[in-house]
Symmetry: C2
Subunit: 281 residues, 2 copies
DNA sequence: AACTATTATGACGATTCGTCAAGTTGACGA
DNA sequence: TCGTCAACTTGACGAATCGTCATAATAGTT
């Protein structure tokens, strides 16, 4: 199997088994029970960190608090995450993984290519609403302040996940092309079009999440706004069928009922318990 | 003792270019020289803070460092900014004010309504490139972690500025309607359409600024991407003339040459001195 | 059991945030 | 010019946090 990492002896003492699971389809390839236990503990720590952040807000996540909340000492925690930024980066990875799962679920929606893309956007917004703190976490991880202090391994993982997320979107353009819904576009343009879709979904979602700006758009129906914006842009791409000749609001609602019923009820439950909007502080 | 608007004739700042009450609280009327001096000092502190952030990065801005860098004591600095978040909020206001100035400049571009909207986007991107750290600053200020600890007065100012920025955009929709370039839209829809434009401009700009995602779009021509995305969406709105029948790339370049020549040369100068991209850490 | 490589511990120094009691300033009236 | 007092300034301080490292504990091997 894999050769043991004997080479880098200087780091050996300080780095524990940061699981080298760059490949998502992972065999758990741990030599010892010990490393296995360490990897499992990392997941426990991450869940704890996520809970701390959801409860006490974004700035309420502290290495000291995490240490106090778990059964291990500071040194042990620092063996897993070399800095607070590294922890953030790990949380970002966790968020992207669940996002990817939602994406895969969304692309199973039965419908034409454009409906599937809307389903993807539905998943994107759903994820942001379910985990608003993690959404900010992903944003923050792009900041150089974080990126510069995160371990290279995690940065690589982030990059891979980003590509996988983008690939799900790209495939829909290929599908639309095959179905004849998108004409006169070169395959080389797909990256550009895909980026446009991503930018619109991200921009709309992020702005709607931001509290103060919400005052400006409170007159709008938040639920419909993302779909509305995406439709504007997809019409601009001449992606058939156009929104004037197809009831995408019906599709949007069906995505919620047919694919994400569980998540939506969780969301309702959640917002009942904790006020109007998820706390992010 | 509260004689408010009596002594303004003696304190009038004769600024070239009729500055009536556009900026809400910059040129207030001060009762005493002392308060005048304090207000001026606040501007000095803000400039210092901005420089600290540009030099040492986003996380390099510290109250302690600011205190060390200026000639005043900690208590005095805290008299101006009640917390680090309040300072961030003040920087955000500063950023939005310069952005508003760029917006006004942009709307003077000679052309049809859609060209003017593109000019606005040009200004938006320009501002982000000129002050990447301030761009992140504005983003961060929307975060509850910051908003909850900023003074109410600053939050109000932010809200006013936000409305003014949005109003510049809204006016272009009115203009397009009057010119017959946008048909079949109710005025009630303007807020929605304006939000869509804002979301697209913000999403595209923010994603392109984020370092790691830039790897995904490095194949694209960054310079053209924002314009491309905006055109997709504006075509979707049926905002005439459509991009298929008008050379907006020419307009885009003319905006740079005719309106923002100075800023562009500053930008080039800046990027020469300090590597490829602005540091944000 | 003894030995060694790996992991765990928590006290510690360094930074940073924000406060406050004591000291200083300056506008104003006498 | 001087005294007064409200407003402003100062910097030492306590609390919280970050990250390190010498030392203790443990698992695996002989």
């Amino acid at each position: 199997m894999t050769i043991r990492q004997v080479d880098d002896s200087s780091k050996m003492n300080f780095k524990i088994g940061c699981d080298t699971d760059k490949s998502p389809c992972l065999f758990k390839k741990f030599k010892t029970k010990r490393q296995q236990a360490i990897a499992e503990r990392e997941q426990v720590l991450l869940c704890l960190a996520e809970r701390l952040m959801e409860e006490h807000g974004f700035s309420g996540l502290t290495m000291d608090k995490l240490v106090a909340a778990c059964d291990y000492s500071k040194g042990t925690v620092y063996n897993h995450f070399s800095s607070k930024e590294d922890l953030l980066s790990a949380l970002c990875i966790k968020a992207m993984k669940t996002e990817l799962q939602l994406f895969h679920k969304a692309s199973n929606f039965k419908g034409n290519a454009r409906e599937k893309l809307l389903a993807l956007c539905f998943a994107y917004r759903l994820h942001a609403l379910l985990h608003p703190t993690l959404f900010y976490c992903v944003l923050t991880s792009k900041t150089p302040a974080v990126a510069e202090r995160a371990s290279q391994e995690r940065l690589d993982t982030q990059f891979v996940l980003e590509q996988q997320l983008a690939e799900v979107c790209n495939q829909l353009f290929v599908l639309a092309m095959e179905d004849g819904d998108l004409q006169g576009r070169e395959e080389a343009e797909f990256a550009q079009l895909s980026f446009a879709a991503w930018a619109m979904a991200f921009g709309s979602t992020a702005l709607m999440l931001a509290a103060s700006t919400a005052q400006l758009v409170q007159a709008l129906e938040e639920e419909k706004t993302l779909m509305f914006n995406m439709n504007l842009m997809l019409d601009g791409m001449q992606w058939l069928p156009l929104s004037s000749e197809f009831d995408y609001w019906d599709s949007w609602q069906r995505v919620g009922m047919e694919v994400f019923a569980d998540e939506l009820s969780t969301l309702k439950e959640h917002s009942k318990h904790s006020g109007a909007k998820g706390k992010i502080t």
